[in-house]
């Protein structure tokens, strides 16, 4: 049986991610683990995460998850980053006074700003919490069966600004244009929570579980 490894580095709620994957990938085994050997042997790898980036990065480095991520991405297997696990793949984040990240994508994590206003000058709440539309700006197997502009569930106060527009496959407008889905070779990463995004989110996870890691 093929395995999907959900990397556990002690931050946040991994139950939701693993339950949702179990729900859609019924012929695959889902394991929540920090064991490099188990992750190495898995066919698919997921890096989730919630909370503050400083704490997440500290745990990632303390547990050696940084090397595990690097190695598994280099191996060419399908790799999915979610939320803070998405932000952790960028160069750095402005959160907590500036935190260097894993640098798998050439992008920066920025603060939404205070006050944040929409296109009509109305004040917007931060965190960006709730269901917002995702514009599919690039084709990718994870979008299979998901309509353009479908709403996904977000919770975040910092957003990603990618340097290479050709890697951006999803954008959301919230006061700014946020890059909310990036893809490069065998890596795909999303700001929103597919595991909390009802049918569309489950479809995305199913697409990932079926993906062979080859772009488009």
């Amino acid at each position: 049986m093929k395995t999907i490894a959900v990397i556990d580095y002690g931050m946040g709620n991994l139950h939701s991610v693993s339950k949702a994957l179990e729900h859609v990938a019924t012929d695959q085994k889902v394991v929540v683990t920090s064991d490099p050997e188990v992750i190495r042997n898995a066919e698919h790898v997921v890096l989730p995460g919630v909370g503050a980036i400083r704490d997440c990065m500290a745990e990632i480095r303390r547990l050696g998850v940084d090397k595990v991520v690097q190695e598994n991405i280099a191996s060419g297997k399908p790799f999915l980053g979610i939320c803070v696990g998405y932000q952790a793949l960028m160069q750095d984040s402005e959160e907590n006074g500036g935190v260097p990240c894993l640098g798998q994508f050439d992008g920066h994590v920025r603060f939404f700003g205070d006050p944040l206003v929409d296109d009509n000058g109305e004040k917007l709440k931060v965190p960006h919490m709730g269901w917002n539309r995702v514009k599919q700006t690039g084709s990718h197997p994870i979008w299979n069966g998901i309509e353009d502009d479908t709403r996904f569930y977000f919770v975040h106060s910092f957003y990603v600004e990618a340097a290479d527009q050709s890697q951006v496959i999803g954008e959301t407008r919230y006061g700014k244009t946020c890059h909310v889905a990036l893809a490069h070779e065998n890596v795909v990463a999303v700001q929103f929570h597919p595991e909390k995004s009802h049918d569309a989110g489950l479809q995305l996870l199913k697409n990932f579980a079926e993906w062979d890691g080859k772009s488009a």
Partner: protein, 257 residues
């Protein structure tokens, strides 16, 4: 293109059953929480709130199992409140599959608990519940005070100042319930909802008093709420979630349809 306003059905759970006190007296049984949660998930609810109103601690184990069961089948955000007093309580609920926890009385007696919880688990999962009553007289500028113990005990704490403080302490969201309105079906207290929502940068969920769909819409348009919570209008089949969403969307409110 904008963020949708959320509709959140609330399950008040006592000893493993969904109940709803009408004016806190006539408690009506509304079914098994897992079945009810699944029904709302299928109907397109944006989130679900599970409020454990069980008085005794020995029944808490039931709650954990129910949260686990709901979280295995319902893939939208799940908030669990009631009896959350320690970081251990939070850890237990998050491990069971909750995405957020509601902290109410414990925050009033120990505000630092909110700070500690937000630092440890992240603001995104800390919802501070505020139960308030209007204490200003008719015609006076609005003033609201926090009450505990189901609305029986005043605390002397101003609700607006408290909301500002809870934001500073790291709350990610405020669940605001008007105890004057809860169970009355007369609509939200729009004044307190708007005053608090405008005073803080984090989202506010309006709660207490929904009797019809116009009340939900008013919560957003006049109360400036980011989400609206209701229980009995959905539990007893008066309205469905899609009906509520269509109604609000027809008034120009951004909804996830």
């Amino acid at each position: 293109m904008a963020l949708a306003k959320r509709i959140i059905p609330c399950l008040d759970v006592d000893k493993g059953r969904v109940v709803k006190g009408v004016n806190f007296v006539d408690i009506r049984d509304a079914g098994n929480p897992v079945e009810v949660a699944k029904r709302y998930n299928e109907q397109g609810a944006d989130e679900i709130t599970f409020l454990d109103i069980t008085a005794s601690n020995e029944d808490r184990g039931t709650t954990v199992h129910m949260v686990e069961e709901i979280a295995s089948e319902v893939f939208i955000p799940l908030t669990v409140g009631g009896g959350i007093r320690t970081c251990e309580d939070i850890r237990r609920m998050l491990n069971a599959g909750a995405d957020k926890v509601g902290i109410n009385t414990a925050a009033v007696f120990n505000p630092d608990f909110v700070r500690e919880a937000a630092e440890r688990f992240g603001s995104q999962c800390i919802v501070v519940a505020i139960d308030c009553k209007r204490v200003s007289a008719e015609g006076e500028p609005g003033r609201w005070e926090i009450f505990t113990h189901g609305g029986r005990k005043p605390t002397g704490i101003d609700a607006v100042e408290w909301a500002i403080k809870m934001n500073e302490f790291g709350a990610g969201e405020i669940l605001l319930t008007s105890m004057d309105r809860d169970g009355t079906k007369n609509g939200f207290d729009l004044d307190v909802t708007r005053t608090i929502s405008n005073a803080i940068p984090i989202p506010v969920i309006a709660s207490g008093g929904v009797g019809n769909l116009q009340h939900l819409a008013d919560g957003v348009t006049e109360g400036h709420a980011d989400a609206v919570l209701a229980a009995s209008i959905f539990h007893f089949g008066e309205y469905t979630i899609p009906e509520a969403k269509a109604f609000m969307a027809a008034q120009g409110i951004e909804m996830r349809l």
